[in-house]
Homo-oligomer: 404 residues x 2
């Protein structure tokens, strides 16, 4: 497997574009993205668990209920959520795009991100679609990635090439997500494309399995968004024998998918609103995987620990505290904690109690921009990893006045 | 029922003191508090649900297992948690105090608050106890309240007088709590005293019932501390017939208790680390009380909403979002939301969708230091209230470097 450029356009037959159509007042900020496959393919998606759901999610769910899709359209600047006419606007978006691309509106995936509860005017979308379609290009991934950004500060894309039964396949993705991000998705939008041939069922199975250990293990602020969605389109143009069951081919596909999604998870966590540091909590020795996941998530979600990491303060008591209230089954008297980064590793707790360590060395380790929090338990052999970021002044600043 | 001065010394037979004994390096900060009843009385307590528990909690649990106690000693500056010798130090503290007061060490309640995982040296406590006992006074409540403060910025105390069967009774309390505070207790220490005569069983029942709708509904930052404890001593010196069952007397006691605890809850939330605003979320029309509580808690716990409140931004979509991911059973299409303060009330959402409102009026309402978030549901008749605070730059500052 090799990491390659091209993002969502790396796989055969995919083009993308991103433009400013006028949903946002700022003319320099793109606000409408499009990804299109030359031929109709299989589609799968996972959605937010929030009971309050963006209208685009309902429309997308209905559209890909047959396991197929050909295009993805996504606007930023408005979530189209909690609006009386939300479904209508999302359906209209799909219809307008379908007409412009000469495809069935039911093969269009619709997504939105931005502020909740303000009606989404269809006019700028309607006026923008011709230019958007015109702009479609094999080099368009970065522009699409830019157009779905809200408070994101960097574009998030990646692609990998890999082999399935002797055929070279490609899988790529773009993502947005910076705030309102919490396990079980968040305002996190991830669009993945692949030219691998895989049945709709196996595609959904691959995606649903993968998100359990990737996007569902990312938290920025504990707020699960109303509009999260991870979607994958597979157009089969790599020419491999279609994957219709588990086995070596499916494993190769899962490995490629996981490489792409873990990269995007790390991008999202590192670009958390106001974040200066990526936090990765790796739990080992847990009783079972659910307990390992619960603990890893609880640690990266602790506001107190996140603030301590911002201050490069080795306040490991807050790690223990977060483990203790996580709800996981754990013997707290067997817990070990180390902090690690490219500047080294410092053990701070063993058997549930503090051990002497150099404050100077710890400060050095914690001053890097990627911190690993290594938690060892004495309860079994299961493990899990969760991603988050530090809590900073800028998180407060960004969210203190986002809407106005 | 009348609110009166005196805090934990308002009830007959109670004295208190607070001194600097040397646990903290800062000589001007008191770090050791004592509350004593002239005669042994009944005692009840509730504790943190964190699996990682401070050693003093284990010792206190054992000491009041007979339903009785006579004194409470509490240090700040060190939580005596995750220390190999924690139990021994907490037991030693009780023994030293028992000897000084000529009471059984088993009638001493021990509590600690401060940093986790640093051994607590008994020396300053041992050296300080004579002066602490010497300082006991009927006017000592404020000094005890001061000595249990950590990042708290204000002392928290209150007392009420009330009638039980023609006898005047008094119930008072002091509290500390500012960060690491989350439903199901937090680094929240609350010490209550009363001269009402009430059996140990009914005292525990009263406290356990009351905390469900008071201290368990306060959240500052989602972190549940390892050292939380709410303790009440009842010495019976008011001379009322002992309350041994439910009925009018028990109801009068519960009402007094609730007045004191709600006041302390509001004090704790308003003094949240870095907070500039008290948030109170009142949910009505819920299917049942558990759902009402889940929703109220979820709203005051949302980092995004807390940051918006700091910025006086009427971003009601974040209230809907927090309701949606709360896990409660709720029809999101029937939700109404209003923001209220002494500057007025602004309705922002009806039937799950936004309604037009004056941004200017909303800004005015949200610029006050006590904000009520009124959530109406269409699911039933149950209600609940939760308390929290805004998320500010200062929360990050305080917690970015607390330990060093």
């Amino acid at each position: 497997m090799t990491i390659i450029p091209g993002g969502v356009c790396a796989a055969k037959g995919f083009t993308a574009a991103g433009i400013h159509c006028g949903i946002r007042k700022n003319h320099t900020k793109k606000d409408l993205a499009l990804i299109v496959s030359r031929q109709k393919g299989h589609a799968a998606a996972v959605y937010t668990t929030n009971l309050v759901k963006g209208a685009p999610l309902d429309v997308t769910k209905a559209h890909i209920s047959d396991g197929c899709a050909q295009a993805i359209i996504c606007n930023s600047g408005n979530a189209n959520t909690c609006n009386a006419d939300g479904i209508q606007v999302a359906e209209q978006t799909a219809s307008l795009l379908g007409a412009a691309l000469h495809i069935d509106a039911k093969d269009v995936v619709v997504a939105s991100t931005g502020v909740i509860g303000q009606p989404l005017d269809i006019t700028p979308i309607q006026n923008g679609i011709p230019a958007l379609v015109e702009a479609l290009s094999e080099n368009g991934s970065a522009e699409a990635a830019e157009a779905i950004m809200t408070t994101d500060t960097v574009q998030k894309e990646i692609a990998v090439s890999f082999e399935i039964s002797g055929k070279t396949c490609t899988l790529g993705g773009i993502a947005k997500g910076s705030g309102m991000i919490h396990p079980n998705l968040a305002t996190m939008l991830v669009f993945l494309t692949t030219d691998a041939a895989i049945s709709a069922d196996m595609l959904q199975k691959a995606l649903s399995t993968d998100v359990q250990s990737t996007f569902n293990m990312v938290s920025i602020d504990g707020d699960t968004s109303t509009n999260d969605m991870v979607t994958i389109l597979a157009n089969g143009m790599a020419g491999n024998d279609e994957i219709v069951s588990e086995g070596a081919d499916f494993d190769a596909f899962m490995e490629a998918l996981n490489t792409v999604t873990v990269h995007l998870c790390r991008c999202i966590a590192a670009d958390g609103e106001g974040a200066t540091k990526l936090l990765e909590c790796a739990v080992t020795g847990a009783k079972d995987e659910p307990n390992a996941k619960t603990i890893a998530k609880s640690v990266v979600c602790s506001s107190l620990l996140k603030a301590a990491m911002f201050g490069a303060d080795a306040n490991w008591g807050r790690v223990l505290c977060a483990i203790g209230y996580s709800g996981a089954e754990v013997d707290v008297h067997k817990v070990g904690v180390s902090f690690s980064s490219k500047s080294g590793i410092v053990k701070v707790c063993e058997q549930g109690a503090g051990v002497p360590f150099s404050e100077e060395a710890a400060k050095k380790v914690l001053s890097e921009d990627e911190i690993d929090i290594l938690v060892t338990l004495g309860d079994g052999t299961a493990s899990a990893t969760a991603w988050g970021c530090d809590l900073t002044y800028d998180y407060v600043k960004i969210n203190g006045d986002y809407r106005t």
